[in-house]
Amino acid sequence: MSDFDSRARKAADAVRQQIAENASDSEKGIRRAQRSPARVAIPSAVAAAVALIVGVVVVLPHGGGEGTSSAGPGAAYAVPGALQPFDTCDTVLQYFKDQAPEYLIERAGGGDRVATDTGSGAAEQRTAKDSSNATPESASTPQDYSTTNVQEAGVDEPDIVKTDGKRIVAVAQARVHLVGLDGGKMTLRKTLPDTMVRNVFLSGDRVLVFSGQTAQTSEPGLRWAGQQAVLTMYDISDPSDPQLIAKLTIDGNVLDARLVGTQVRVVTISSPDVNAPAPVYAPDGGITEKSKEELRAAVASTHVDDWIPTYALQDSAGGEVSKGRLVECANLAHPETFSGLDTVAVSAFDMGSALQSRQTVGLIAGGQQIYATDTSTYVSTTDWTRDGSAAKTSLHKFVTASSGASTYQGSGEIPGTLLNQYAMSEYDGVLRVASTVSERRGWTNPRQLTEGVVTTLQ
């Protein structure tokens, strides 16, 4: 054996031994993995106020005949019921206090992962000022440039490259580059200061940049506050001298966005965190009664702003315009059956504005895909059941009026999972959804029984 080999094996053994000696310490992590952020594994019975379901039409069954039964414990389809709005912040807080402790404990809860993100619940001010700087209309001359391929005509989707024939806005290496087109010659005019950029919208002379950042904590060394989505609006009338219009920071991540006319709809998802001590595990693998009590106490002492995501809006000079709760308590709703602690919010802005939102609505549930038409926004939640049995998907519908105010319409549940946003299509007020229902036949046989299902919801 070479010198290297013996050295390597000794070093590997040392690591193994250290870990083995503390196995119990590390093994308790099983609970941690299962606890997972609420978004990851919403407990089986994902809600679904099926108020919207009018008829379920199953077409195209092919594949095996064993169906998709075998719903695991708690995986039963939710009983139809209406969505539950909250009227006051007290009821919102009560909902979290009622639901969170057992949920967190069940997810083998508590502890570091459930660490903390308290929004500074400052004054909320969300005025829908009429923007004085109206968005310039896009050139109405015959269009001879290409655009983002979109799912619905007239509903634009964010992209890494946008052009209006006069200039190109391109995202490369997570930065936004403004490229001028002068007589067929491309020149890089400016690179915007934003980093970690995902994609952009271009409308008239306005560019809306979607990026992210790790939240700054007010108490360094004490809290890790999580992810924030950043929306930055620029005026690029002169691509060499882009003007910052406004910057909006929202707790969480942007799930997706759509642009209809000059109206942008943004769907964000935010996970709350509870500041509880790390759980202690009993010999049986569960967390101890003491830890459960600590967790319950931590939840009991929360404030409503510990749960509701916050936003902060800055003007062109970086001054704070407003900040506070992203969603007013009165605009929050929850499905009749508890389905997680995340807040999925739909906000709308005008591209001509300084990112003031008229009315943001939120749903306490998880979200995965979004599909939007000119007026509706659908958010899907897929629930992977823990025992590998058939998955189900919930759909939540929001309607955004031309004024920019969004309202929550309701939810429905369908069997199976959605491949992507293209699995949804609305026609004449009816949503058609194509889902895939799979069932394994024992894990030694990876072949799955798969069938396609089309469900219509109204």
């Binding site: 070093a11 870990i19 998955a391 394994r440």
Partner: protein, 179 residues
């Protein structure tokens, strides 16, 4: 080159058990130490390693339904762990998070002596693929074929990575077989 004096945590056969569905719990119990060890030698930080392992298992849990149907969930979790340990951005975030968790927790349970620490340190300075190959080969006692599965490359490349890694580490540590 056979695995010698395997301690209590010797790698269990990666041949998946037969019969009915492997439960996530069993998978976790079986693999967690290995994944943690792998993450540890690749990141060099116990807390970051814990979070990396945690993330990998969370991802597995999330899609357990489909992962359990793969030929080898074990290879899958190792691949995810290698990738996640390699992502600088994720790593930074995890470090930030780990810092938070350190508050109130002072005890580290993975403490290597200087020589072993220096060895893994040298491994971490290798190009990514080489480091992953060494970690899988020595930490996990994985065969060249198994490594090629995890890293999704040819057996030839695995051998190349191994041999280059040996040379580089040996040179750095001034081992006798350095060339």
């Amino acid at each position: 080159m056979e695995s010698q004096a395997a301690p209590a945590t010797a790698v269990e056969p990666s041949v998946e058990a037969c019969g009915e569905s492997l439960s996530f719990d069993d998978f976790y119990k079986r693999e967690h130490r290995h994944v943690l060890a792998l993450a540890f030698v690749l990141t060099g930080n116990q807390w970051v390693a814990e979070d990396t392992a945690q993330d990998a298992f969370t991802a597995a849990f999330r899609h357990w339904h489909s992962i359990v149907a793969y030929d080898s969930p074990s290879a899958w979790i190792r691949r995810v762990t290698c990738n996640r340990a390699a992502s600088v951005l994720r790593r930074r975030m995890r470090e930030a998070k780990a810092m938070m968790r350190l508050v109130g927790r002072t005890q580290t349970y993975i403490e290597l002596d200087q020589g072993d620490e220096a060895f893994w340190d040298a491994v971490r300075r290798l190009p990514l693929r080489q480091a992953q190959t060494v970690a899988l080969y020595y930490m996990e006692d994985y065969s060249v074929r198994q490594i090629s599965e995890v890293l999704d490359c040819s057996e030839g490349s695995v051998k190349t990575h191994l041999s280059r890694a040996r040379d580089a580490v040996a040179r750095q540590l001034r081992l006798e077989d350095a060339q």
